[in-house]
């Protein structure tokens, strides 16, 4: 069975600094990996995904993620954080019909 771990419940970063939100996964077969963001009282918004190809994936709002097969990781990154990036971030792996989500990481960007 597939699983996703987000080891940090919360990440705090100052505006303008780079941010990283960590994700590790376990899946048999090819990993199809996703990042979603959830703002308060909103649904899950798709940020980016890795299917195949380049290990560095670029997505919405300046976010990118680095796929590392040997470390089974898919960390979300942004070179310069904005206060408006503050939200709940979910990593997910797709196997078969379903997405399996990590527990989520709350990103707090302070001015």
């Amino acid at each position: 069975a597939q699983s996703v771990a987000q080891p940090e419940d919360q990440v705090n970063v100052a505006e303008g600094n780079p941010l990283t939100v960590k994700c590790t996964y376990s899946v048999s077969g090819n990993p199809y990996l996703f990042w979603y963001v959830q703002y308060p009282n909103r649904g899950l918004q798709f940020l980016l995904k890795y299917i195949t190809g380049d290990n560095l994936v670029k997505g919405s709002y300046g976010f990118e993620a680095e796929f590392n097969k040997s470390q089974t990781s898919f960390h979300l990154k942004k070179p310069s954080a904005l206060v408006s990036d503050s939200a709940l971030y979910f990593c997910a792996v797709n196997a078969g019909n379903m997405l399996t989500f990590g527990g989520g990481t709350r990103l707090m960007v302070k001015p």
Binding site: L44, F90, M98, L99, F101, G103
Partner: protein
């Protein structure tokens, strides 16, 4: 940009009552899903639906749950006899294809069972 929509945004019901949560997936999508998120917990898969039948379901999706696509646009989740532990945010999602395809989520229905 097309979006998944869900109604109602909030629903309060008494334990034992039936509820129907409604979703309108993106129009050219073929695969439909329901997920739930109990407060403070991770998002969990309930069921996937394709070609008018369930293609996969989780252990959570027991006999009290059912899904239906009653017409060409709506996709519903019915809970026959709600329990306190059914209180959660329920998300509908849709995708064009299956494996590796992005699932687009609706804003959710917050269900509170009293």
């Amino acid at each position: 940009e097309p979006e998944v929509t869900q109604t109602p945004s909030h629903q309060v019901t008494q334990m034992g009552q039936e509820v129907i949560l409604r979703c309108v997936p993106i129009s050219n999508h073929l695969y439909f899903y329901w997920y739930r998120q109990i407060l403070g917990q991770k998002v969990e898969f309930l069921v996937s639906f394709y070609n008018n039948e369930i293609s996969e379901k989780s252990e959570i999706f027991d006999d009290q749950f059912s899904v239906e696509r009653p017409d060409g646009s709506n996709f519903t989740l019915k809970i026959r006899s709600t329990k306190l532990e059914d209180s959660a945010m329920y998300f509908c999602a849709s995708s064009r294809r299956l494996v590796g395809e992005t699932q687009y989520f609706g804003p959710g229905t917050r269900l509170l069972v009293l």
